[in-house]
Protein backbone atom coordinates (compact mmCIF):
# COMPACT_ATOMS: atom_id res chain seq x y z
CA UNK A 1 0.00 0.00 0.00
CA UNK A 2 1.08 3.59 -0.55
CA UNK A 3 1.58 5.87 2.38
CA UNK A 4 2.67 9.47 2.68
CA UNK A 5 4.24 11.12 5.62
CA UNK A 6 6.66 13.85 6.49
CA UNK A 7 9.86 12.92 8.25
CA UNK A 8 12.00 15.73 9.60
CA UNK A 9 10.19 18.18 7.36
CA UNK A 10 10.81 16.11 4.25
CA UNK A 11 7.81 14.49 2.52
CA UNK A 12 7.96 10.81 1.62
CA UNK A 13 5.66 8.61 -0.43
CA UNK A 14 6.41 4.97 0.15
CA UNK A 15 4.97 1.67 -0.82
CA UNK A 16 4.92 -0.45 2.31
CA UNK A 17 3.68 -3.81 3.42
CA UNK A 18 0.91 -3.17 5.95
CA UNK A 19 2.80 -5.39 8.40
CA UNK A 20 5.92 -3.23 8.31
CA UNK A 21 6.71 -1.41 11.49
CA UNK A 22 7.54 2.26 11.40
CA UNK A 23 10.98 1.63 12.92
CA UNK A 24 11.92 -0.67 10.05
CA UNK A 25 10.76 1.81 7.46
CA UNK A 26 12.70 4.63 9.11
CA UNK A 27 15.87 2.60 9.47
CA UNK A 28 15.91 0.35 6.46
CA UNK A 29 14.02 2.30 3.83
CA UNK A 30 14.80 5.90 4.67
CA UNK A 31 18.16 5.14 6.27
CA UNK A 32 17.58 7.05 9.48
CA UNK A 33 19.66 4.93 11.85
CA UNK A 34 19.34 7.21 14.85
CA UNK A 35 16.14 5.43 15.87
CA UNK A 36 17.29 2.36 17.81
CA UNK A 37 15.66 -0.95 18.60
CA UNK A 38 16.40 -2.15 22.10
CA UNK A 39 13.49 -4.45 22.86
CA UNK A 40 10.90 -4.39 20.10
CA UNK A 41 8.07 -4.42 22.63
CA UNK A 42 7.48 -0.88 23.76
CA UNK A 43 9.47 -1.14 26.96
CA UNK A 44 12.77 0.59 26.37
CA UNK A 45 11.89 3.69 24.38
CA UNK A 46 15.10 3.56 22.32
CA UNK A 47 12.87 3.68 19.24
CA UNK A 48 11.02 6.81 20.36
CA UNK A 49 9.98 9.23 17.65
CA UNK A 50 7.68 12.21 17.79
CA UNK A 51 4.51 11.93 15.74
CA UNK A 52 2.22 14.95 15.51
CA UNK A 53 3.66 16.32 18.71
CA UNK A 54 3.52 13.09 20.70
CA UNK A 55 6.23 10.63 21.59
CA UNK A 56 5.55 7.09 20.48
CA UNK A 57 7.47 3.83 20.27
CA UNK A 58 8.14 3.27 16.59
CA UNK A 59 8.58 -0.47 17.22
CA UNK A 60 4.91 -0.76 18.17
CA UNK A 61 3.54 1.22 15.31
CA UNK A 62 2.83 0.08 11.81
CA UNK A 63 4.18 2.43 9.20
CA UNK A 64 0.68 2.52 7.76
CA UNK A 65 -0.63 3.99 11.00
CA UNK A 66 1.64 6.95 10.46
CA UNK A 67 0.12 7.69 7.07
CA UNK A 68 -0.46 11.41 6.78
CA UNK A 69 1.52 12.19 9.91
CA UNK A 70 4.36 14.48 10.74
CA UNK A 71 7.29 12.55 12.15
CA UNK A 72 10.39 13.82 13.89
CA UNK A 73 13.32 11.51 14.46
CA UNK A 74 16.56 12.34 16.22
CA UNK A 75 18.09 13.33 12.89
CA UNK A 76 15.55 16.14 12.74
CA UNK A 77 16.62 17.66 16.04
CA UNK A 78 19.63 19.94 16.00
CA UNK A 79 23.07 19.44 14.58
CA UNK A 80 26.64 20.32 15.38
CA UNK A 81 26.23 23.92 14.26
CA UNK A 82 23.06 24.47 16.20
CA UNK A 83 22.38 21.79 18.75
CA UNK A 84 19.00 21.74 20.43
CA UNK A 85 19.27 22.97 24.04
CA UNK A 86 18.46 19.46 25.23
CA UNK A 87 21.30 18.02 23.19
CA UNK A 88 23.68 20.64 24.47
CA UNK A 89 22.66 20.01 28.05
CA UNK A 90 22.98 16.23 27.65
CA UNK A 91 26.55 16.64 26.44
CA UNK A 92 27.59 19.23 28.96
CA UNK A 93 25.97 17.68 32.00
CA UNK A 94 27.31 14.23 31.18
CA UNK A 95 23.99 12.52 30.47
CA UNK A 96 25.48 10.34 27.75
CA UNK A 97 27.34 7.12 28.36
CA UNK A 98 26.94 4.33 25.82
CA UNK A 99 24.49 6.51 23.94
CA UNK A 100 22.10 3.80 22.82
CA UNK A 101 19.21 5.25 24.79
CA UNK A 102 20.22 8.81 23.99
CA UNK A 103 18.24 9.54 20.81
CA UNK A 104 15.02 8.41 22.49
CA UNK A 105 15.86 10.28 25.66
CA UNK A 106 16.54 13.48 23.76
CA UNK A 107 13.24 13.20 21.92
CA UNK A 108 11.25 12.57 25.09
CA UNK A 109 12.91 15.54 26.76
CA UNK A 110 12.46 17.81 23.76
CA UNK A 111 8.82 16.92 23.47
CA UNK A 112 8.23 17.63 27.16
CA UNK A 113 9.88 21.03 26.90
CA UNK A 114 7.99 21.86 23.74
CA UNK A 115 4.81 21.43 25.74
CA UNK A 116 5.81 22.71 29.16
CA UNK A 117 8.59 25.26 29.34
CA UNK A 118 9.26 24.93 33.04
CA UNK A 119 8.29 21.42 34.05
CA UNK A 120 8.52 20.34 37.67
CA UNK A 121 10.88 17.59 38.79
CA UNK A 122 7.98 15.23 38.85
CA UNK A 123 6.88 16.14 35.36
CA UNK A 124 10.41 15.54 34.16
CA UNK A 125 10.60 12.16 35.81
CA UNK A 126 7.30 11.06 34.35
CA UNK A 127 8.16 12.32 30.88
CA UNK A 128 11.38 10.32 30.92
CA UNK A 129 9.89 7.18 32.43
CA UNK A 130 9.25 5.46 29.11
CA UNK A 131 12.91 5.39 28.20
CA UNK A 132 15.16 2.85 29.84
CA UNK A 133 18.83 3.51 30.39
CA UNK A 134 21.15 0.89 31.80
CA UNK A 135 24.29 3.03 32.06
CA UNK A 136 23.63 6.39 33.63
CA UNK A 137 21.21 5.56 36.41
CA UNK A 138 19.15 8.45 34.95
CA UNK A 139 20.69 10.91 37.38
CA UNK A 140 22.54 13.06 34.86
CA UNK A 141 19.75 12.70 32.32
CA UNK A 142 17.21 14.15 34.74
CA UNK A 143 19.67 16.88 35.68
CA UNK A 144 20.25 17.78 32.04
CA UNK A 145 16.53 18.11 31.38
CA UNK A 146 16.18 20.08 34.58
CA UNK A 147 18.88 22.44 33.46
CA UNK A 148 17.10 23.21 30.21
CA UNK A 149 13.82 23.54 32.09
CA UNK A 150 15.37 26.12 34.37
CA UNK A 151 16.99 28.04 31.59
CA UNK A 152 13.77 27.74 29.62
CA UNK A 153 15.33 28.83 26.35
CA UNK A 154 13.85 26.15 24.17
Amino acid sequence: MDIKFVVNKKPYTLNVDPRERLIDVLRNRIGLMGTKEGCGEGECGACTVIIDGKTVNSCLLLAAQADGCDITTIEGVGNRRSPHPVQKAFVEVGAVQCGFCTPGMVLSAKNLLDKITHPSDQEIGIAMSGNLCRCTGYDKILRAVKRVAEEGDV
Partner: protein, 280 residues
Protein backbone atom coordinates in the same frame (compact mmCIF):
# COMPACT_ATOMS: atom_id res chain seq x y z
CA UNK B 1 -2.58 -8.51 4.19
CA UNK B 2 -5.12 -5.81 3.51
CA UNK B 3 -5.17 -2.55 5.35
CA UNK B 4 -8.18 -0.27 5.54
CA UNK B 5 -8.33 3.22 6.85
CA UNK B 6 -12.02 4.10 7.03
CA UNK B 7 -12.98 7.71 7.67
CA UNK B 8 -16.30 7.02 9.33
CA UNK B 9 -17.82 4.65 11.82
CA UNK B 10 -20.30 3.29 9.29
CA UNK B 11 -17.54 2.60 6.82
CA UNK B 12 -15.57 0.78 9.51
CA UNK B 13 -18.52 -1.34 10.52
CA UNK B 14 -19.30 -2.14 6.92
CA UNK B 15 -15.71 -3.26 6.30
CA UNK B 16 -15.79 -5.44 9.38
CA UNK B 17 -18.89 -7.18 8.14
CA UNK B 18 -17.61 -7.83 4.67
CA UNK B 19 -14.02 -8.79 5.38
CA UNK B 20 -12.38 -11.07 7.87
CA UNK B 21 -10.45 -8.36 9.57
CA UNK B 22 -9.41 -7.07 12.96
CA UNK B 23 -9.86 -3.58 14.27
CA UNK B 24 -6.62 -1.78 14.88
CA UNK B 25 -6.68 0.96 17.51
CA UNK B 26 -3.35 2.15 18.94
CA UNK B 27 -1.73 -1.15 18.16
CA UNK B 28 0.17 -1.43 21.43
CA UNK B 29 -1.24 -4.90 21.93
CA UNK B 30 -2.12 -5.91 18.41
CA UNK B 31 1.13 -4.95 16.68
CA UNK B 32 3.06 -6.78 19.37
CA UNK B 33 0.91 -9.86 18.97
CA UNK B 34 1.36 -9.74 15.21
CA UNK B 35 5.08 -9.48 15.74
CA UNK B 36 5.26 -12.56 17.94
CA UNK B 37 2.90 -14.43 15.65
CA UNK B 38 0.28 -14.78 18.36
CA UNK B 39 -2.29 -13.37 15.94
CA UNK B 40 -2.16 -13.24 12.18
CA UNK B 41 -5.02 -11.05 11.02
CA UNK B 42 -6.04 -11.35 7.40
CA UNK B 43 -6.77 -7.64 7.22
CA UNK B 44 -6.67 -4.64 9.50
CA UNK B 45 -9.19 -1.86 9.91
CA UNK B 46 -7.24 1.08 11.27
CA UNK B 47 -9.63 3.19 13.32
CA UNK B 48 -7.08 5.98 13.71
CA UNK B 49 -8.58 8.23 11.08
CA UNK B 50 -12.07 8.41 12.54
CA UNK B 51 -12.04 11.61 14.56
CA UNK B 52 -15.47 10.92 16.07
CA UNK B 53 -14.22 7.89 17.91
CA UNK B 54 -11.72 9.95 19.88
CA UNK B 55 -14.20 12.35 21.38
CA UNK B 56 -14.87 12.77 25.07
CA UNK B 57 -18.33 14.29 25.42
CA UNK B 58 -20.40 15.38 28.35
CA UNK B 59 -24.04 14.37 27.90
CA UNK B 60 -26.88 15.15 30.28
CA UNK B 61 -26.48 12.16 32.55
CA UNK B 62 -23.36 10.45 31.34
CA UNK B 63 -19.89 11.07 30.06
CA UNK B 64 -19.17 9.44 26.73
CA UNK B 65 -15.59 8.44 25.99
CA UNK B 66 -14.89 7.32 22.44
CA UNK B 67 -13.12 4.01 22.12
CA UNK B 68 -10.21 5.63 20.32
CA UNK B 69 -9.49 8.17 23.04
CA UNK B 70 -5.97 7.44 24.24
CA UNK B 71 -4.92 7.03 27.84
CA UNK B 72 -2.99 10.28 27.46
CA UNK B 73 -6.05 12.15 26.25
CA UNK B 74 -8.28 10.72 28.95
CA UNK B 75 -5.63 11.42 31.57
CA UNK B 76 -5.53 15.07 30.51
CA UNK B 77 -9.25 15.57 30.40
CA UNK B 78 -10.87 17.73 33.05
CA UNK B 79 -14.22 16.18 32.26
CA UNK B 80 -12.82 12.81 33.18
CA UNK B 81 -11.10 13.97 36.32
CA UNK B 82 -14.34 15.56 37.49
CA UNK B 83 -16.69 12.74 36.58
CA UNK B 84 -14.56 9.66 36.71
CA UNK B 85 -11.61 10.29 38.95
CA UNK B 86 -10.62 6.63 39.27
CA UNK B 87 -10.31 6.32 35.51
CA UNK B 88 -8.35 9.53 35.34
CA UNK B 89 -5.97 8.16 37.95
CA UNK B 90 -5.54 4.90 36.09
CA UNK B 91 -4.53 6.87 33.03
CA UNK B 92 -1.68 8.57 34.87
CA UNK B 93 0.20 5.41 35.71
CA UNK B 94 -0.66 3.15 32.81
CA UNK B 95 2.39 2.05 30.79
CA UNK B 96 4.68 4.91 29.93
CA UNK B 97 4.17 8.27 28.21
CA UNK B 98 4.81 6.70 24.81
CA UNK B 99 2.35 3.90 25.47
CA UNK B 100 -0.29 6.27 26.81
CA UNK B 101 0.03 8.38 23.69
CA UNK B 102 -1.04 5.42 21.55
CA UNK B 103 -2.98 3.02 23.72
CA UNK B 104 -6.73 3.50 23.65
CA UNK B 105 -9.43 2.67 26.13
CA UNK B 106 -11.26 0.69 23.45
CA UNK B 107 -8.14 -1.38 22.83
CA UNK B 108 -7.79 -1.93 26.55
CA UNK B 109 -11.19 -3.56 26.57
CA UNK B 110 -10.62 -5.28 23.22
CA UNK B 111 -7.46 -6.90 24.45
CA UNK B 112 -9.02 -7.49 27.84
CA UNK B 113 -5.96 -8.62 29.73
CA UNK B 114 -6.55 -9.58 33.37
CA UNK B 115 -4.38 -6.63 34.32
CA UNK B 116 -5.98 -4.03 32.04
CA UNK B 117 -5.81 -0.78 33.98
CA UNK B 118 -8.82 0.84 32.37
CA UNK B 119 -11.36 -1.79 33.30
CA UNK B 120 -11.60 -1.73 37.11
CA UNK B 121 -12.32 2.02 37.18
CA UNK B 122 -14.93 1.67 34.44
CA UNK B 123 -16.54 -1.20 36.33
CA UNK B 124 -16.61 0.61 39.64
CA UNK B 125 -18.08 3.69 38.01
CA UNK B 126 -20.86 1.61 36.50
CA UNK B 127 -19.85 2.25 32.91
CA UNK B 128 -21.75 0.97 29.94
CA UNK B 129 -20.22 -0.01 26.66
CA UNK B 130 -21.54 1.37 23.44
CA UNK B 131 -21.25 -1.32 20.79
CA UNK B 132 -22.08 -1.39 17.13
CA UNK B 133 -23.01 -4.94 16.30
CA UNK B 134 -24.35 -6.68 13.26
CA UNK B 135 -27.81 -5.86 14.59
CA UNK B 136 -27.13 -2.20 15.21
CA UNK B 137 -26.28 -0.11 18.22
CA UNK B 138 -26.24 -1.69 21.63
CA UNK B 139 -25.59 -0.26 25.06
CA UNK B 140 -24.60 -2.89 27.58
CA UNK B 141 -23.18 -2.66 31.07
CA UNK B 142 -19.46 -3.39 31.05
CA UNK B 143 -19.94 -5.81 33.92
CA UNK B 144 -22.27 -7.94 31.78
CA UNK B 145 -20.08 -7.71 28.71
CA UNK B 146 -17.09 -9.01 30.65
CA UNK B 147 -18.88 -12.26 31.33
CA UNK B 148 -19.17 -13.21 27.66
CA UNK B 149 -16.61 -15.19 25.69
CA UNK B 150 -15.44 -14.11 23.24
CA UNK B 151 -15.87 -10.62 24.46
CA UNK B 152 -17.41 -9.41 21.23
CA UNK B 153 -17.75 -10.99 17.78
CA UNK B 154 -15.06 -10.05 15.28
CA UNK B 155 -17.29 -7.57 13.47
CA UNK B 156 -18.55 -5.75 16.54
CA UNK B 157 -17.11 -2.32 17.00
CA UNK B 158 -16.56 -0.91 20.45
CA UNK B 159 -17.90 2.56 19.86
CA UNK B 160 -17.24 4.00 23.29
CA UNK B 161 -18.01 4.04 26.99
CA UNK B 162 -20.74 5.78 28.93
CA UNK B 163 -19.98 6.69 32.47
CA UNK B 164 -23.03 7.75 34.48
CA UNK B 165 -22.64 11.19 35.99
CA UNK B 166 -23.81 10.43 39.48
CA UNK B 167 -21.29 12.50 41.34
CA UNK B 168 -19.53 9.43 42.66
CA UNK B 169 -16.29 9.71 44.57
CA UNK B 170 -13.84 7.26 43.14
CA UNK B 171 -10.27 6.14 43.36
CA UNK B 172 -7.91 3.66 41.77
CA UNK B 173 -4.64 2.09 42.77
CA UNK B 174 -2.45 -0.54 41.26
CA UNK B 175 0.37 -2.60 42.54
CA UNK B 176 3.22 -2.96 40.11
CA UNK B 177 6.84 -3.91 40.56
CA UNK B 178 8.11 -0.56 39.33
CA UNK B 179 6.96 3.03 39.25
CA UNK B 180 6.53 3.12 35.48
CA UNK B 181 6.01 0.50 32.81
CA UNK B 182 4.47 -1.73 35.41
CA UNK B 183 1.81 -4.21 34.56
CA UNK B 184 -0.64 -4.38 37.45
CA UNK B 185 -0.14 -7.37 39.70
CA UNK B 186 -3.24 -6.18 41.52
CA UNK B 187 -5.52 -3.26 40.97
CA UNK B 188 -8.46 -1.90 42.87
CA UNK B 189 -11.03 0.71 41.90
CA UNK B 190 -13.58 1.99 44.37
CA UNK B 191 -16.53 4.26 43.72
CA UNK B 192 -18.86 5.50 46.42
CA UNK B 193 -22.01 7.51 46.68
CA UNK B 194 -21.67 10.07 49.44
CA UNK B 195 -24.57 11.23 51.57
CA UNK B 196 -23.25 13.53 54.25
CA UNK B 197 -21.24 11.37 56.61
CA UNK B 198 -22.75 8.24 55.15
CA UNK B 199 -21.77 6.19 52.16
CA UNK B 200 -24.57 5.08 49.94
CA UNK B 201 -23.87 2.55 47.27
CA UNK B 202 -20.29 1.29 47.07
CA UNK B 203 -18.73 -0.44 44.09
CA UNK B 204 -15.40 -2.15 44.20
CA UNK B 205 -13.74 -3.66 41.14
CA UNK B 206 -10.60 -5.73 41.11
CA UNK B 207 -8.00 -6.32 38.44
CA UNK B 208 -5.38 -9.06 38.07
CA UNK B 209 -7.12 -11.43 40.43
CA UNK B 210 -8.75 -13.55 37.80
CA UNK B 211 -9.12 -14.05 34.10
CA UNK B 212 -10.68 -10.64 33.72
CA UNK B 213 -11.33 -7.61 35.88
CA UNK B 214 -14.57 -7.96 37.85
CA UNK B 215 -16.97 -6.03 40.00
CA UNK B 216 -17.28 -7.62 43.42
CA UNK B 217 -20.87 -7.83 44.54
CA UNK B 218 -19.82 -9.12 47.93
CA UNK B 219 -17.74 -6.05 48.56
CA UNK B 220 -20.46 -3.76 47.32
CA UNK B 221 -22.94 -5.29 49.73
CA UNK B 222 -20.57 -5.38 52.66
CA UNK B 223 -19.56 -1.75 52.37
CA UNK B 224 -22.66 0.11 51.20
CA UNK B 225 -24.88 2.24 53.38
CA UNK B 226 -22.66 2.88 56.37
CA UNK B 227 -20.85 5.62 58.14
CA UNK B 228 -17.64 6.59 56.45
CA UNK B 229 -14.91 6.29 59.02
CA UNK B 230 -11.80 4.45 60.02
CA UNK B 231 -13.78 1.35 60.83
CA UNK B 232 -15.26 1.36 57.36
CA UNK B 233 -11.81 1.31 55.83
CA UNK B 234 -10.66 -1.51 58.07
CA UNK B 235 -13.74 -3.47 57.22
CA UNK B 236 -13.04 -2.87 53.55
CA UNK B 237 -9.50 -4.13 53.99
CA UNK B 238 -10.69 -7.29 55.65
CA UNK B 239 -13.41 -7.95 53.11
CA UNK B 240 -11.25 -7.30 50.09
CA UNK B 241 -8.68 -9.74 51.39
CA UNK B 242 -11.38 -12.34 51.76
CA UNK B 243 -12.69 -11.75 48.25
CA UNK B 244 -9.22 -12.07 46.77
CA UNK B 245 -8.55 -15.22 48.76
CA UNK B 246 -11.65 -16.82 47.35
CA UNK B 247 -11.07 -15.56 43.81
CA UNK B 248 -7.52 -16.83 43.62
CA UNK B 249 -7.99 -20.14 45.35
CA UNK B 250 -4.73 -22.04 45.32
CA UNK B 251 -3.01 -20.14 42.54
CA UNK B 252 0.69 -19.60 43.11
CA UNK B 253 0.24 -15.87 43.51
CA UNK B 254 -2.57 -16.23 46.05
CA UNK B 255 -0.64 -16.18 49.33
CA UNK B 256 0.93 -12.89 48.39
CA UNK B 257 -1.94 -11.15 46.66
CA UNK B 258 -4.58 -11.91 49.25
CA UNK B 259 -2.49 -10.06 51.83
CA UNK B 260 -1.10 -7.31 49.62
CA UNK B 261 -4.50 -6.27 48.32
CA UNK B 262 -5.04 -4.53 51.64
CA UNK B 263 -2.47 -1.90 50.79
CA UNK B 264 -3.85 -1.44 47.31
CA UNK B 265 -7.37 -0.99 48.63
CA UNK B 266 -6.17 1.52 51.18
CA UNK B 267 -4.35 3.43 48.45
CA UNK B 268 -7.45 3.43 46.25
CA UNK B 269 -9.67 4.91 48.94
CA UNK B 270 -6.93 7.30 50.03
CA UNK B 271 -7.58 9.39 46.99
CA UNK B 272 -10.95 10.46 48.31
CA UNK B 273 -10.64 10.00 52.02
CA UNK B 274 -8.19 12.07 53.97
CA UNK B 275 -6.64 10.82 57.15
CA UNK B 276 -9.15 10.46 59.91
CA UNK B 277 -11.94 9.28 57.71
CA UNK B 278 -14.23 12.27 57.19
CA UNK B 279 -14.84 13.51 53.70
CA UNK B 280 -12.83 16.17 51.93
Amino acid sequence: MKYFQPRSVSEAVELARTTESSFLAGGTDLVLHMQTGKVQPKALIDLGKIAKLREIIEAEDYLEIGSMATFAEIGQSNLVSQNAFALWQACQTMGSPQIRNKATLGGNLGNCSPAADGLPPLLALGAEVHLITREGEEIIPLASLLISTPLVPQDTLIRGFRIPRKGLQSGFAKLGRRQALAIARLSVAVAIEVKGKQVGKVSVALGAVGRRAFLSETLGLALSGQELNEAWIEKGVEEVQRVVRIALGDRASAPYKRVAVAGVFREAVASFIPEGGSMV
